[in-house]
């Protein structure tokens, strides 16, 4: 019988939280925002989500088969990327563009750099940025069946402050925008799920959002901090994109610096940038700084006098 004993290095027990479970909880936390998107934008939104998730999983499977690597689609990370990408697209986006964006996210941004955990920018955001430069008009067309026009941030940019939707509509999500970003309440429910399940820590979202609120007010934007926080992709980005493990710093101290940097850039782009929204680009830029932040925010080694850097 002892022939069957496993001999291995300690420890011999393990926390039950595994990668697929983490990804599963992220999907669960994303669900409220998806439901809100379908509620406000109709079944077209659901179709876009389905296309993105299915193509992300398909391209991951295809790439891993072609390159003869172990197939890892069951870790659900491709599904998370797909859903996040869909949430960053307008509900009117042509399906083939959504699929092309998914291919870019998975093959170019994720797999070519080594797959899960090895990409240096967030795949969904990078794909969104690529799509925005490739197809600027479809990517910023918000009208669906005649409902909802320009996004609140675009209205602020145009100086049409009197046409802005009410705070209440902003909070529940009855406004123009990307599929998953409009309903603040749904995103906050997701934040609660991620915190309760210990998937993410509070620091990145809270510091990111707080920095944007404070700086936008300081910079003299017309709508006030609460309105700033609830508009655009800020909550979606702060809760689900900036907290991406692979592309955010590994220590809590580093994460705080990262979040403040994201906030600073977002406020700058919103106030002075040519494009109304700054969340995606801010996070992408800060993703590139992560290795540097990691280097300068190493934890204090027990018993060692702190050296410079």
């Amino acid at each position: 019988m002892e022939r069957l004993l496993v001999v291995s290095s300690s420890p011999h027990i393990h926390s039950p939280l595994e990668t697929p479970k983490i990804m599963g909880w992220v999907l669960a936390a994303l669900a409220p925002a998806g439901l809100a998107g379908v509620y406000f934008f109709g079944l077209r939104a659901a179709a876009v989500m389905a296309v993105c998730v299915a193509s992300c999983v398909f391209f991951e499977y295809l790439w891993e088969k072609l390159t003869k690597r172990p197939v890892t689609v069951s870790d659900l990370s491709a599904a998370v990327t797909g859903l996040l990408l869909a949430y960053n697209l307008p509900p009117t986006i042509p399906f083939w563009m959504a699929a092309a964006g998914s291919a870019f996210a998975i093959i170019i941004v994720k797999q070519m750099y080594g797959g899960l955990g090895a990409n240096f920018v967030n795949p969904a955001l990078a794909a969104r940025a690529a799509m925005l430069t490739s197809w600027p008009v479809p990517m910023t067309t918000w009208t669906l069946d005649g409902v909802s026009g320009a996004t609140p941030l675009a209205l602020i940019k145009m100086g049409a402050v009197d046409k802005l939707p009410s705070l209440q509509n902003l909070f529940i999500g009855n406004i123009g925008g990307c599929i998953g970003e409009t309903s603040a309440i749904a995103l906050l429910i997701g934040f609660g799920i991620l915190l309760a399940k210990d998937i993410i820590k509070w620091q990145i979202p809270v510091i990111y959002v707080a920095t944007v609120a404070v700086l936008c007010t300081v910079y003299g934007r017309p709508v006030g901090p609460v309105y700033e926080v609830l508009t655009g992709g800020l909550l979606l980005g702060a809760i689900f994109m900036a907290t991406d493990y692979t592309t955010s710093p590994i220590t809590v101290k580093g994460q705080m610096i990262f979040a403040a940097g994201c906030g600073l850039l977002t406020a700058l782009i919103r106030t002075w940038g040519g494009y109304p929204e700054g969340v995606s680009y801010s996070i992408l830029i800060m993703n590139l700084v992560v290795p540097l932040i990691d280097r300068f925010t190493k934890p204090h080694i027990f018993g060692e006098v702190k050296k410079n850097g």
């Binding site: 300690s10 590994i250 809590v252 934890p299 018993g303």
Partner: protein, 445 residues
């Protein structure tokens, strides 16, 4: 009130309820007993008996005169059957003295209580502790007499009795604190004679309220001076030397220093208990308390057994297996050694025998690192295990040292937390071993 503790750490499930109410049972084996010659950190012993010699309980069967060493004594009376290579806990074949037990358990005549032990020169204790073969019974097996002889420059302010027992499943220290409270405190009082300025601190994790209460009661009833019980937050690895010192004294100290350099001496409760028995009762340290437990064991128990007993006998005593185990460990699940055979002897470092089913051993495939930072948050030493592991794989040992890899205490917290099941602790262990090997090679040149 927030209880003292250390930075980092994890909260694995305790699973102590399997044996927490099992009183310590004594077991006297028959047949042969096996005494490996390497049973302490430091210099291993060499056999000092030969085939056919008659030995008694407390007869020296192995010895080494090096300072950091402890003799090995027979735990039974009988005849030396052979001196030969036998399999030991890590699955290696080591030099062992094998004694055929006569079942009489006759004590060697030199073992008598130390006369007038309360007024005797406390230096006598140190000799007695060494002769009794006492090592750290928490599992680290550092010779106790060496700890009692710190360099004269060290000013000892705290004598810490480690009753933390932070490894899941194990209960031998907890049971001992309940059943032999007075002996532990008296052992501490004897050692405080060696360090008159020191304060005795009994450190116990807050998940052992009965032990804390028993210790507090006994201190009051027995009028023990300069002793306090310090409940600590329940967090693994609270019982690790550095973490315990941090929790109790607030001090951190670098890799190059020893507890004595920061004014601390730490003894496990069982070590303290054995020191008392050796000095006051004239008993050599030839037994150990072993928690035999795990979800594959039919009737988990705490057993006091002579050193050299075959692990298989203890498992049989605990009812055998109720389910097929996939792993059998010597020690706890976080730091224990997995065994390839249960036909190995109980040694001084055997703190528990743990048989895990596939369900609790959670053998799972290794997947890609997510950079989630859970290992960083868990590491009590402030390391970044996810960065150290790739350095070891790339054989960048200089970088491994620069990044603090040698500070790893191998507590297992990082691996426990890793959602990708990466064996990070093993990476650090390999890295440390390689660096040490290179240092030895460099020193030999």
């Amino acid at each position: 009130m927030r209880l003292p503790t250390f930075w980092g750490g994890i909260h694995p499930p305790q699973n102590k309820d399997l044996t927490v109410n099992e009183e310590i049972e004594s077991y006297l084996p028959t047949g042969e007993l096996v005494f490996p010659m390497a049973q302490n950190i430091g210099a291993p012993c060499s056999p000092v008996v030969a085939k056919g010699d008659r030995v008694l309980v407390g007869t020296r069967v192995g010895n080494n005169d090096a300072f950091v060493s402890a003799p090995i004594l027979s735990s039974v009376s009988g005849t030396v059957k052979e001196v030969a290579m036998r399999m030991t806990t890590p699955g290696l074949f080591e030099n062992c003295v094998v004694v055929e037990n006569d079942g009489l358990y006759e004590l060697a005549p030199e073992w008598k209580p130390l006369e007038n032990y309360e007024s005797a020169d406390p230096k006598e204790y140190i000799k007695r502790v060494r002769d009794a073969g006492i090592v750290g019974f928490g599992g680290a097996t550092f010779p106790a007499a060496v700890k009692l002889s710190p360099p004269p420059t060290a000013k000892i302010k705290w004598l810490i009795i480690n009753g933390v027992e932070c490894e899941p499943y194990l209960n031998c220290d907890n049971r001992l604190m309940l059943e032999e409270t007075d002996k532990i405190l008296k052992g501490l009082r004897l050692m405080l004679r060696l360090f008159p300025g020191a304060e005795g601190v009994i450190a116990i994790e807050n998940n052992k309220p009965a032990a804390i209460a028993a210790m507090n009661d006994a201190i009051v009833k027995g009028g023990f001076n300069n002793m306090t019980v310090q409940p600590l937050m329940v967090k693994y690895p609270q019982g690790a030397e550095k973490m315990l010192i941090e929790a109790i004294t607030g001090q951190e100290y670098p890799l190059s220093k020893l507890p004595a350099d920061v004014g601390c001496i730490i003894f496990n409760v069982r070590t303290t208990h054995q020191i008392y028995e050796a000095i006051v009762e004239g008993k050599p340290a030839v037994e150990r308390i072993v928690t035999v437990t795990g979800d594959a064991i039919a009737r988990p128990k705490n057993i006091k057994t002579p050193l050299g007993t075959c692990v298989r006998e203890l498992i049989e005593l605990a009812g055998g297996f109720r389910e097929q185990p996939v792993k059998i460990l010597s020690g706890g699940p976080m730091m224990g050694t997995s065994m390839r055979s249960i036909d190995v002897p109980v040694v001084k470092g055997t703190s528990g025998i743990l048989a895990l089913t596939a369900n609790s051993a959670m053998l799972r495939p290794i997947t890609a690192c997510l950079h989630c930072g859970r290992c960083v948050t868990a590491c009590p030493m402030g390391l970044v295990p996810s960065a150290l592991d790739p350095l070891v794989h790339a054989r960048l040992y200089d970088r491994f040292e620069q990044e603090g890899g040698m500070n790893c205490i191998e507590c297992g917290s990082c691996t426990y937390m890793c959602p990708a099941n990466r064996p990070l602790t093993q990476g650090c262990r390999d890295g440390k071993a390689s660096v040490n090997a290179m240092r030895r090679k460099a020193a030999a040149k």
